[in-house]
Amino acid sequence: MPEGVVYTGIPSREELAACPGIPTEARMARGRVAVIECVQEIPCNPCESACRFGAIEIGEQLTALPRLDGEKCTGCGLCVALCPGLAITIVDKSFSATESTVDFPFEYLPLPGEGDTVDACSRAGETVCPARVVAVKKSPAYAGTAVVSIRVPTAFADEVRTMRRLPRREEDI
């Protein structure tokens, strides 16, 4: 299968490398920062106004790709919940000597609980490693989207983008 988002639904390595929403390795090592994997020119800009720090810029051309200013980004995570494409995560490679955190949007039931062990999954939905849930945030400002934070070995921080959906319990259907 050819690579690239139009063939797989997953941005290729090249597409990510050329994507202006991805922070530098050094910035990720310093602490929480948004990773905006938006590689197609679609008319959409809620991330720009979601950011209170002016760290995301799209500009007049609505289809321009969001450009991240890693210096201004505080990793607050509001953009994670407000991106209609669910294309933003927060990565923190400074979490511990060996571990990083990945915060991602999650719109399924049931939600995991803090401290639970879940399967961390890749962009292709494959299990990468077990992960511990650090936080589950649900704010009215998120408009129905939950943001889940998990910790994973730093070697997997660029690969993990979500968790496996949990089996629905009787009472959730």
Binding site: E107, L109, G144
Partner: protein, 110 residues
């Protein structure tokens, strides 16, 4: 099957229920919902059979256009069940082939 809990839409609570009848079988429905939704929820999928080949048909468009979901409702044939709201005690029958002609409407249907 009901979607009682939903990550975006929240929980369904406080729905009033009514009973409709599919043939003789009572089917619980939410007040105001389309007949087709109540039947699908109850696992009933065959709404009518075609006139020539007696093939089963069910909901296709759910917006009242395709007429695949027509049934006999309170005696009125060719009723589009996807846009007809349930009423307590409503009688719904499979429409087998062409509906009989000349049935007097017993109650206001569509």
């Amino acid at each position: 099957m009901r979607v009682l809990h939903h990550p975006v839409l929240g929980d369904l609570t406080g729905q009033k229920t009514v009973t409709i009848y599919y043939g003789e079988e009572p089917v619980e429905a939410f007040e105001g919902e389309p007949v087709a939704a109540a039947l699908l929820n109850a696992g009933i999928r065959v709404f009518r059979k075609t006139a020539k080949r007696r093939e089963p048909r069910s909901v296709f468009c759910a917006i009242g256009r395709c007429t695949d979901c027509m049934m006999i409702v309170d005696g009125i044939p060719n009723t589009r069940t996807c846009v007809t709201a349930v009423r307590d005690g409503m009688r719904v029958q499979l429409q087998d082939g062409l509906a009989p002609v000349g049935i007097a409407p017993e109650a206001g249907g569509r």
